[in-house]
């Protein structure tokens, strides 16, 4: 005897089953039991407890929001030199005997400032983009904002230095900004700007 498949049972549950499945389920105790078990599984899934996040992520979100606001403000009004100065104030610290190369860090920060300058040309608040490009740009901006938030959380310049981590964060920032510039360049080329 042929029984209902899982597809049939799900269709029965959704009220979309074939005439054969409906009439078969009426007379077949085994398939009715399978259908009951399906209903029970779904009910049990719905009853699974909610889970609380183990850590509070709001400080990261808040810092990213604040960093993005600062960055937008820079894009709108500041020169590259001012942006570089702020970046320097944000993260400058003596390295002491740390392994990271201060020259490398300075170089990365210069690259970051150059990218900021490039981004200014694309006027992020007045851009016209496809939905997909806008989503990619927004995701990149979010990730940059999170890194800016982390940089800001390094503390005052005289705090305990963590140069390797600092260089890594700046490098990530530069990589993301390069991708963001790429999105804008592609968009500009596409629309002939």
């Amino acid at each position: 005897m042929m029984h209902c498949t899982m597809d049939d049972l799900l269709a029965l549950q959704a009220g979309e089953a074939s005439a054969w499945a409906r009439s078969h389920a009426e007379v077949c105790a085994a398939c009715r039991a399978e259908l009951d078990a399906l209903y029970q599984r779904v009910a049990q899934l719905k009853a699974l407890p909610t889970r609380r996040p183990p850590r509070d992520r709001w400080p990261v979100v808040r810092d990213a929001v604040l960093a993005r606001r600062r960055r937008r403000s820079r894009w709108g009004a500041w020169s590259v030199a001012a942006a570089a100065t702020v970046a320097g104030l944000l993260v400058f610290r003596p390295f002491g005997t740390g392994q990271a190369n201060a020259a490398d860090l300075a170089s990365i920060k210069r690259e970051s400032a150059t990218l900021e300058q490039q981004l200014e040309r694309y006027d992020p608040d007045a851009r016209v983009m496809s939905g997909r490009a806008a989503a990619v740009a927004a995701a990149l901006e979010d990730r940059i904002a999170v890194i800016d938030g982390e940089l800001a959380r390094f503390g005052p310049p005289d705090a305990q230095p963590r140069p390797a981590e600092l260089v890594k964060l700046w490098q990530q920032r530069v990589d993301l900004m390069q991708q963001l510039v790429g999105v804008h360049v592609t968009r500009a080329a596409y629309v002939g700007l």
């Binding site: 599984r41 909610t50 979100v61 929001v65």
Partner: protein, 179 residues
Amino acid sequence: MTISLAVPDILVARAKSGDLEALEALYRAFETPVYSLALRMLRSPEDAEDVLQETFLEVVRSIKQYRGEGHLWGWIRQIAASKALMRIRRNQVRATEELHEEAAAGPGGSGVPARVDLERAFERLSETSRAVVWLHDVEGYTHEEIAEQMGRTVSFSKSQLARAHARLRGMLEDEGAAS
């Protein structure tokens, strides 16, 4: 998971104006449902935390576009599900997922309540299967909505759901036999 969180309009209006306190209040109201949704869809708590963070970054950026149509939770849930599905796509190596399922699908312990058995069995599914089951069976998404969110076809969503339920059924049967 049934969520019935009522958020005052004034709070949403303040959040739209960029008020950080209001945005934090929204975060506090929805952090648990968002994290729970992400955790059910994804394998790792770390990924779920990242989805929580990405979701609220998006909420903060896009709250001005929320027009108050439907429940705010529905809007935030849509963002969270989308972020979780993006992460699944990023993580996804189908062959690896299959291996995870096979490797994890051993017999369970005995004498545990049915809910725990089901939860454990559910956790053994691939991320794609988990996402489809959770969005369809618990969050009430249609196959059309799931297909659109996943960038796949309706028949893909339906076959994933059937396959996942067949696996759940099999795993629970194994557990029953072992106890």
